[in-house]
Every structure is written in C-alpha cells, then in structure tokens.
C-alpha cells in the first residue's frame, strides 16, 4: 500500500477515535432526588405495578356498584388498612403468600364487580380490608435509600387514593343502562388480569 495512503488512513482512524472519545454524553438532568424524590417515588410506585392498579380501581368500581354508604366507606377505610399492612411489614411481621393475596384481590374484586354482588357493608369492608393489608405489606415498604420516608408514604397514599377515585368516577357510568354492562365487563377484565397475576405468583 502506498505509504502516503496508509498514513492518511491512520490519521482518519486516529481522528475518529479522538472524536468518539470527545463526543459529549447526553446530560441526564434529574431533579427528583432526596425529599422530592421520596414523594415522586411514592406517588409513582402504586401506578407502576399493574397488580396494584387494577385492584385499587376495582375497589372504586365495586364501591360505585354498591352505592351508599359503601361508596365512601371503602375509600375511607382502605388507605388506613393498607397502611396498617405496611406498618406490619415495616416492623417485621411476616405475611405469608403476599403475592398470591394481591393476585387474589384482583380475582375476587373483579368477580364481585362482574357478578354485581351486593354484600352487607360490614362484610364488604372486611373483604376489602383483608386485601388492603396484603397490598400495604407488599408495596408500602419499598422506600429507596436516601429518600424521605414521610414524603414517600404521602405520595404512596395519595396515588392509591386517586386510583380509587378513578374507579369510583368510572363506576358512575352504571347510571347509563349500557354502562352497567360495560362496568361488569371491566370487572371481567380485572378478574382476568388477577388470574394472570395468580398464575405468575404461583409459578
């Protein structure tokens, strides 16, 4: 090969290497650290897991089907009982079969919405309370290091409450005749998702 050509290639190669070495990396600006990170982490945590999302929405849907007073009793009771489950997890009290319990919550709540089952208020609260404890035990304790525990808890509780709100608001379509059927269809979807989660938890 012509020495001049070889020299030219080497120069190009060296230039390319220098170019790659000096290429600026994309700047990943992130402001959500520390305190703000705790709140955003808590806020996004319930929304990031489909198992939690469908069960929370199903609580709202079922409350809408049951009407007064379950419509407001369930969303008032759920956060407190969920936090109670979280507290049990934090103080080290184990809860066997948490993942199965969470998957079952979607199956049972979905079935209740699908069947438009009307249970007495006390029984409805007990059913929801049992599942709330499982959800709190599994999800309420996942604080990342360096983040503010109180703001994480606040974000977690607010996001869960807002998911109930989505369920209740969506459940209002039952006032419209076809809407009641659509609502039952949504229950079937929740139940199917629960069965999928149950399959995943059992295997």
């Amino acid at each position: 090969m012509n020495p001049a050509k070889r020299c030219g290639r080497k120069a190009i190669l060296a230039s390319l290497l220098v170019l790659v070495a000096l290429w600026p990396l994309a700047a990943w600006a992130h402001v959500e650290s520390g305190q703000a990170g705790g709140f955003l982490s808590g806020l996004s945590h319930p929304v990031s897991g489909l198992d939690h999302v469908v069960a929370m929405i199903a609580v709202g849907l079922w409350g809408a089907q049951l009407g007064m007073p379950a419509l407001w009793v369930l969303p008032v009771a759920f956060p407190m009982l969920m936090a109670f489950g979280g507290m049990l997890g934090l103080i080290g009290i184990p809860l066997p079969g948490v993942e199965i319990g969470i998957a079952l919550s979607a199956v049972v709540l979905g079935a209740l919405v699908l069947g438009r089952v009307r249970l007495p208020l006390a029984v409805a609260v007990i059913v929801v309370a049992c599942f709330a404890v499982f959800h709190g035990h599994a999800h309420g304790t996942e604080l990342q290091a360096g983040q503010n525990a109180m703001l994480y808890s606040l974000g977690f509780v607010i996001a869960t409450g807002l998911l109930h709100g989505v369920g209740i608001t969506s459940g209002l379509i039952q006032r419209w005749e076809p809407g009641a059927q659509i609502l039952r269809g949504a229950g079937a979807l929740v139940m199917a998702a629960g069965l999928y989660f149950l399959w995943g938890a059992a295997t």
Binding site: Q35, W72, P75, V76, A77, P79, M80, M82, A83, F84, G86, M87, L88, G89, L90, I91, G92, G140, T141, L143, N148, A149, M150, L151, S153, L154, F156, V157, I158, G161
Partner: protein, 200 residues
C-alpha cells in the same frame, strides 16, 4: 533561605480538622422570620398535623374553627418561647406522628366534638409543636424571629384551611375531607412503621 519548619504541617493539620456540624435553618435569604416560615413549610409532619387540625375544626363549624385558630398560635408561641430556653429535646418524631394520626382519625370518623374540646386539642398540639420547634431553633442559633415566622405561618395555614372547610355542606365535599383525614392516618401508620424500623 529561612526554613518554615513545622508551620506548614501545623497549618495542614488544622485545615484537615473536621469542623463542628452547624445545623441551621433553611436559608430563605430574607431573614430569620422567613427562615422560620420556610422551616415549617418544609416539615411535612408538622404540615400534616396542622392540616388535620384545620380539617377537624372546619368540619365542626365556625365556632370550632375560630377556637382552633385562636388556641393553636397562642399555645405554639408560648410553648415555643419555653422551648427556646430548654436543653435539646430528644427526637420525639413518634410523638408528633401519633399526634397527627390522632387528629386524622378524628377527621376520618367525623367525630362530633364540641368547640371547647377542639380548642383544647389545638392548644395541646400547638404546645407540642412549640416545644419541639423552639428546642430545635435553640440548637440552630435561631431565635424569636424564626419562631414568629413558624407561628404566623401555622396560623395562616390553619386559618385558610379551616375557612375553606367551614362552608362545605354538600355531602360529597364533607366525604372528601374525611378521605383526606384517612390519608393522614395512613401516612402516620406508615411513619410509625418506618420509625420502628429505624429508617427515619
């Protein structure tokens, strides 16, 4: 040439000495009053307690709200002045958590308390906040100016929040307030767990 001897080593040693940690209030750049105000606004536990107290007072009507709005800042100021003279109070996060949880329970269950009891609750909560904040301010070399910032901010927050709740008569609006109370309880329960775990 004159030899420096041990002098550079001494200087290097002094430079390497760890300084005492000087805890200080958040610096607003606007003076101690606003530093105090900002200190309260950046304390989520205190804010939750004040919010729950305002919701509770607001749910019980104008008389109860006026009683709370009077009792809270008075107690907060007096206890804060005492707190400024006290030695450092040990970390009582669990006590303030239990306090805002109790207020949240009263809101969530819409417990019908007379205005006198609401005023007493506001006074007790104000005393607790005052002692804790006053003692904290003393350790940060902050004084009465910062305490006044805390007191007036707490007063404004409770005044505005309770005034927003008092006119709510629609069933749904009152339920929303009770749901907010249940959220305060839920945060408190999780906080108790974190405190027991030692993560806070």
């Amino acid at each position: 040439m004159k030899r420096l001897g041990l002098l550079p080593w001494l200087a290097a040693g002094l430079a390497a000495l760890p300084g005492a940690a000087q805890a200080h209030l958040v610096n607003s750049g606007l003076g101690p009053f606003y530093d105090g105000a900002l200190h309260l606004l950046l304390s989520p536990g205190d804010l939750l307690g004040l919010l729950a107290l305002a919701l509770l007072a607001g749910l019980r009507g104008t008389t109860a709200a006026r009683a709370a709005v009077t009792a809270l800042p008075t107690a907060l100021l007096l206890a804060g002045l005492i707190g400024l003279t006290l030695p450092v109070i040990p970390n009582l996060a669990w006590l303030s958590t239990l306090a805002f949880m109790l207020l949240g329970v009263l809101v969530a269950f819409d417990v019908r308390l007379p205005p006198v009891i609401i005023a007493a609750l506001a006074g007790v909560y104000g005393t607790l906040l005052g002692l804790l904040n006053g003692s904290t301010l003393a350790t940060m070399d902050a004084g009465v100016g910062s305490l006044l910032g805390i007191v007036l901010t707490a007063f404004m927050l409770v005044l505005l929040a309770s005034a927003a709740v008092v006119p709510l008569h629609a069933f749904w609006a009152r339920i929303t307030v009770r749901v907010a109370g249940s959220w305060v309880v839920a945060v408190g329960m999780l906080m108790l767990g974190w405190l027991a775990q030692g993560a806070v």
